[in-house]
Symmetry: D4
Subunit: 209 residues, 8 copies
């Protein structure tokens, strides 16, 4: 339970039947669970079987418990380069919500129009952790990391085509960023970015007590 949930289910590689079995198992054991990676059609099928679960289509998730009260006092800024990156942001945001972490979102402020990003400089400075989500060339974390001193968790997305390499180009770009001390999670892994933020925020809270 240490890392925020009784159980987390990764839904992408599981059939609907496998998911139904696992969900029933956890419900029978009275365990709280959070499930990610659910394609809209899987959600449609699961919703018929489990009308009492909480589903979120924009983030592709399901859970069997209400949002907890905010348990953490410091906040996370969730930034995306483009509008196409938004669905990864929603997976991160939904995870933050079920962990009781406050957040603010900043969608579509990538480097092709750098003024959009510069407009939010003051807002962004207030967050304890910045999650920066970008596809294509993945340049935004470099700019953010050059300006801000907070922990930065970069999330490459599979947005783009050709040389975007399904997200490997922004992944590699973020890992070899000329801005120092940026860390990176797997392609499209909004869940993992939120969990990494949770690890940091817990540490901040603990040391404050």
């Amino acid at each position: 339970k240490r890392l925020g949930f009784d159980e987390v289910i990764y839904g992408k590689n599981k059939s609907t039947n496998q998911l139904i079995d696992i969900i029933n198992l956890y419900k029978n054991k009275n365990l709280n669970f959070f499930c990610t990676g659910l394609h809209p059609e899987k959600i449609n099928e699961l919703e018929k079987v489990f009308p009492d679960l909480y589903f979120s289509r924009e983030s592709g998730t399901a859970r069997n418990f209400a949002y907890p009260e905010t348990k953490i006092s410091n906040s996370v800024g969730v930034i995306t380069a483009g509008t196409s990156d938004a669905q990864v942001a929603y997976e991160a945001i939904e995870t933050l919500r079920v962990l009781g972490i406050p957040f603010e979102k900043y969608i579509d402020i990538g480097v092709a129009g750098i003024h959009r990003f510069l407009h939010y400089l003051d807002d962004l400075r207030n967050h304890s952790v910045l999650i920066v989500i970008a596809g294509m060339e993945g340049a935004l974390p470099s700019v953010v990391g050059g300006i801000f001193a907070q922990p930065i968790i970069a999330v490459p997305t599979s947005v783009g085509y050709g040389t975007a390499l399904s997200g490997f180009t922004p992944l590699f770009a973020m890992l070899t960023s000329c801005a120092n001390g940026i860390t990176v999670v797997n392609i499209d892994n909004g869940f993992g970015a939120a969990m990494a933020a949770f690890r940091i925020l817990q540490q901040i809270e603990n040391k404050n007590d």
Copy 2:
């Protein structure tokens, strides 16, 4: 200066002559600098030109200032899977030292003999951040991340041959780890891992003040 140094020089792609020019420039400007990625032979050459610099062969670094006093109260655990990974650990450790961050090192406690790692469970729990360094299959961060709740910064190394892919296999393994919320930096990037730890520790300290 926000991120700990006046200037950082990445020495790997620069010739000795380029390095001499840059170092002279910074010395003339009275700037403090930290230089990484120095092959032992480059150090030999630079030492002749700049006998007053501080060189560290095991970490491949140089600097023109003494270690600062410890400025940070929380500590970092630096863990490696094998002995061959040690030189990446030394780059991280040297960076922590020049940033005034306390640390402890745990070398050669990888998963092939899981008891070695289990032996340090209590020690490791005391650190605010864990830097976990591994080459070959890069499995150690998964085990660490399944047991500990702190922020974990995984560093893949180029140790291994054949399918180790010069570090891309542990890199990819760490990014797709089944342990949640692990973040990753570039292959052999001990410096970046320490900088990421610095970003987190600063945040902890700031909120404590």
Copy 3:
């Protein structure tokens, strides 16, 4: 017939019509055959044409003969890291069954919660061969191989996304494992792992006679 079957058909790259032709051919020749790699929909179509065959949906296989009696006295342990890896385990298990090999299965005991695995240490020690199945970072065989002295056949699976590289990351990780003497088969190749176990078990039995 030496390797356990009259004929093995690999069903994945064949159309249903090709499969019908081949099956009729073998039936007319009175040959026993085992067919793997059958997608559920292909099974549905084949079942209409051949109601007398034995189909197994969870393993994607078909055969025209009943399970043989157990011919081998030593057993195989079939281990998976996650629940998503189970279908590869079932292909291995079905192959073991048609070869008359006793087995035990251990599903979802991967490294992210190492206690799950440690719980079965005594059971696992009893098997003559261990088949260890894992996707994502593929770390489980390293831990198993560090603890047990038996032959270990590692099977990477295509479970995961992004840097899991459709199974190439666990494949490469298993091949470069820091545990010694682990051998590996193709991605998702439960059939091949069981056949490799069969080769070993036959050798044990032969030498015992």
Copy 4:
């Protein structure tokens, strides 16, 4: 002769002996030639044989003719992200020189400290073509392309390590840049970038006549 030279020799894959033969051939034919891709040591050897050639070590080039007078009225801005990218810039600059094209250079103004780049906004606006050279994550052309309307020729460099992939990461990043209408040349190909600028500038001049 249409593209500026009688002959261009690519020196990288040729042995010193091959180069000597080719140079003698062209000298005997009274042809002007420009040779690129010369490692410093090859230059040392060639210099002994041909003391009358013009060698440039920082760009790795040789020629048998003096710089022509400036023949083009519009200029090129040559920008690099880091100091390590400078040697690619010098290959471009040397090529511009032998083509009689005016230029200005801007070294080490990459995105990790975006203020450095912003400082030159007015200067950069005056050039007819911008050559933007960057290694590592290759983010600078995206920022430049989002601000300026001129033709932008992006040159990825092999500077970096690990996920920089010897220049493939900045190459792919530049090709999938979210800034529109950026074009790209081969990794480290300063020569090709200058030639592309030449094609554009010639077109401008022609239409002006």
Copy 5:
């Protein structure tokens, strides 16, 4: 507005619902927009919602404004190697049209029958910029670049199979072309090629004024 449009939407990674939201937003703001990367089925759905938009199926684009008058006096030649490359050409052509740029198209004149290309030598010489589109081995730009002195923008396409590598083979071939000064855009990126031509043509016009 500098680069020709109020807004450009990349339609490929966006769901129809996301597209409807964005289009409504821009319509409400009275902004002109151009949308690319629309699969025929998405166009069918959008056409029902927005009967007043201009759709082009052969180029996969949509816009909410009539073609502007031709604003540029110099023209672009759009060349393809095969008939299968035509749809990328149409994306380039549609972009040129909405930018008010005159053009001529030359479809299916690739190197396998070099006479087809040689037939158009005189026509091609008249254009200020040549966009050369080719899949498979991508050899056409090398031949064009060896004959013509104009700016050449090469566009690799995903036409082909096996070693065509979904366009990476022509991409790499174009970047390493033995013809000097060719520049390249992303695979299938007809839009980007037209934008690059626009940058060049604007520069020619400006200098003419």
Copy 6:
């Protein structure tokens, strides 16, 4: 000690100084060790420091103990496709020797002259395990596996050039072999193949007792 050695040192990624430290450590602790991956030049240097060690240049190994008596009654056949693959065979053979396992070697009997292999059919049938070593296209294990029923451990080597891909082509070929139940180890990993054979042979012996 379970897997045959007190300690195994992998020498490739360690400097001579690191090796000297480790060897001294183990000698002081009175531990037996076996070291692999030693380049001839490293052996030259180590021999000067440790004249009492046993070095083997053809296998690139060192040890501080005499060969044990043969402890295992069943034997291993070590087969190579070409003469260039011999050095990988020697690493396997040296490992078998220090483990006390009897073996026979068959060098240069690859598929390009299939008669060479057919000549040894009867000899090969007597071994309990076959280690099959091949570079280039790696076809030999498929032929061996189609004829023999024993456990087969295939070792790809880095012999070859171009599309041999430093051993990845034979590696992939062996993993996707049409012969059933072949298992594979890392490229050039003669040590690992011998260890895998040891795991199997131990199992045979144990069950015999």
Copy 7:
């Protein structure tokens, strides 16, 4: 017409509508054409529009002319390793037929059961060219090339999974074959193999006249 057809159409990357336009064009010009790469569903649609064309589903081809009489006196042997490779063989065979070349086919005689191949040694010796088709590890051409002296055209197929890499593993294996003088065509390219055979056979016939 030199290479056997008025026109060849590659159907894979073209839509049904594009194909209808091209076919009508060629019919109106009274040109003979041969079309390859037609998915069964495209054939169904084209058959409705052009009931007078000759379609072949097993080879995925169409033509508007009857088979010519055999024009060539020497024959081609078409060999496949497995039954799954048969459809590539049919593309080669259909091409040979429309070129008037005699042939013999040998399906499913791959190396996993080397006796199947050895059975046909005498038959195979009679052909002037051997086309050898194999997926998975692609070992068959090495064995054929070691025994026979004729020209051998190897065709890798996309049959297999995981490390078969959609045909790149047999492609690379065939190119690095230890049998000398084997040549290779693109993955699944039965058409190209037949055309290469045609080039050779024409040369034989010409020199005989």
Copy 8:
């Protein structure tokens, strides 16, 4: 002996000592041998030991027999795109010589200056087989194959940098060439191309007798 030599030795992956052993072995057996892949320095060492062998530095080969008389009446044209490709041509030519095959060479006539190639059209038409050697984008075989009807053996070379991918780009380009019936050998494999020509020429001669 069927394929022209008693023995062929591939020298690249063998140490000088290994080579000396093998050469002595063959000399003692009175076998004729041909050795390829010899680096100039290896030749220097071997020449001291075997002053009676015939060495060729430009092709990197050695043999212990004089050139045979020309045994074949038809000739081979050996074409290269650039001067840097010449050393691969020399390996092919030396192999043709020891096989007694007449040939003509055409160096540096690649597509960047298509007139160079067009100049030799009539000469090239006379050869029975064309070996076409090219690095970088590898476009020359496509142009040759579109014009000539003879068998064409394309040889990609490792000449180039960056996206030339050490020869994989011309390799892939040649395999996916839009000219029909071109066949390909491994990167830099001049030897293999000559052997493939030998297979074809033998067939022509045989049928003529």
